[in-house]
Amino acid sequence: MFEIFGIPSQALFGQLLIGLINGSFYALLSLGLAVIFGMLNIINFAHGAQYMMGAFVAYLVLQYTGIGYWGALIVAPIIVGITGIIIERTMLKQLYKLDHLYGLLLTFGLALVIEGVFRNYFGASGLPYQMPPSLAGGHNLGFMFLPNYRGWVVGASLAVCLATWFVIEKTRLGAYLRAATENPTLVRSFGINVPRMITLTYGFGVALAAFAGVMAAPIYNVSPQMGSDIIIVVFAVVVIGGMGSIMGAIVTGFGLGVAEGLTKVFFPEASSTVIFVIMAIVLLIRPAGLFGRG
């Protein structure tokens, strides 16, 4: 066994893996943001609240209907996605022609309202959510103990991220979507229902947030402020990756998870700050972000 900067290599490998796992949450959330920004030009500040709603819906369907974790992975994104569609149809739709700032202010306000409502009903300290028995336990990898659940989180989020990237960048549907962003009038003239496509895209982005919320429920505290704790970091991830870049969001999500994980070993006190330091440096050198085209 060798040492790197006084840390045994084994511990370091463990921390790298942990960083990757946390990165998968960042990647899932920033992916949803990137999709929404790329297609709708809306900066969705309600994303953290929608992530929190995913976790709460998982808890509520378990309490009231007995639907467990696996069911919740499907049901919660659908329910929260529908609320997203309602928001898009009734409010966001009015803002597409205006400056980005209006969409940001609206979603920011919505986030505060949603969080406040949940805090009013459920309190601030959180709700219990047990891990599904089929994913309890873990494996000893030699250099660290890997809980099965974390393995599942990395696998599932990688799969969802790559599938989303594939659909948007490589399929006909994705091509329509991208074309509709560039020139909606032209795409509409081909007989494609552009407003419906935009609505569904927002619903999908929101569903991604809810999916991440359900994934988080067994390991993170299910509380109304769980979204605002993570959303600022996720926005930093999106800014570093380049607003609207799908691949950028995925790669920086995982990358920053690792960077944060390593900081937790070498200088734990700074672990909540390191991402913003990286953001400042990236913005100075490449203002459009690492993968940005702007």
Binding site: A11, I43, L104, A111, S125, Q225, F235, T273, L283
Partner: protein, 407 residues
Amino acid sequence: MKKVIGAVAAAAVALGLGAAAYAQSGTQTVKIGVLSDMSSLYQDIGGPGSVAAAKLAVEDFNKINPNLKVEIVSGDHQNKPDVGSSIATKWFDADGVDMIVDIPNSGVALAVSQVAANKNKVFLANGPASSDLTGAKCNPNTIHWAYDTWMLANGTGKAMVKTGGDTWFFLTADYAFGHALERDTAAVVEKNGGKVLGKVRHPLNTSDFSSFLLQAQSSKAKVIGLANAGGDTINSIKQAAEFGIVKGGQSLAGLLVFSSDVNALGLETAQGLVLTATWYWDMNDANREWTKRWHAAGGPSGKVPTMIHAGVYSSVLHYLKAVAATKQSKDGAAVVAEMKKMPTDDILFGKGTVREDGRKIHPAYLFEVKKPSESKKPGDFYKLRATIPADEAFRPLKEGGCPLVKS
């Protein structure tokens, strides 16, 4: 693109600022300010529940002494010392507030304690834990009521070392409270023949603890001491279970665990956890009866009151008695001196005293979290393991280093 990024940055800053404080205006009476966390992680241990507790104290006081008119205002310190001190300054200077109670955050509490001393008002600390409030940072205007870090360390720390947990690793919240709790616990561990193998300090409001838990695991310490609170403690315990920490033979010591935290964890995850508290709602009939009234007065439904809520009730009641005895509320130091002179007596903490250094003295209890099968009703969380008598529960007067104590 630049505009977008600028807007994102601006909104991020705004999100940090959160909601503003609110206060009501009033006439010349005794005015009490409940300064608490109304919108974030400590909301359930203090927050609206503390306002309800203060109302009950006023109600009970007015039964004996209807001549004193008492008004209650409340505010949100947002866990920021600067926000807390500016609300306190405004309350004292402009709004005629005579006394501030609660403040569940040691950083904010230490700042407000200073403000209260400068303006010669009163601060009754129930929410904060740092024992520095009655140690090096004590002053003639502050009383520390419900609990403190020394008492938590002494209760849980000693019990763990006595049962074989003699090597420790700390997960510490990186601010005044975490540092004080870690320091006090480390002292107890070492005094009882144990050893501290290491520590890691994490930022407040961390959601993922796996990195830190891995470091704790590889330290091979028998006990992992959680010198944090609220959501941080919940996340640490939840993830420690996931990483097989307890199954691997290490035990967790939750140094500050409230009933609201146990509720959030669920008994399945929290069972067996040992903790120290000075008050538990289900311990006797008086407490159960008071809990009913607390719910009726606006305590959050579906939650049980914490020792902080009980402390707010008890301290406000004692404060009002002292105001009645000195016949004034404007000279804060004089009221506090009277509070130290009079013995305390109320339905929740029984008979007790307030010491020279501002420490309220009462017994503490070592509890163990029940198994799910042992819990008979909602909120039925603890079984009593030991009672720590009042004269042993808190730091001896001479050891705190409080300048008010004449040696």
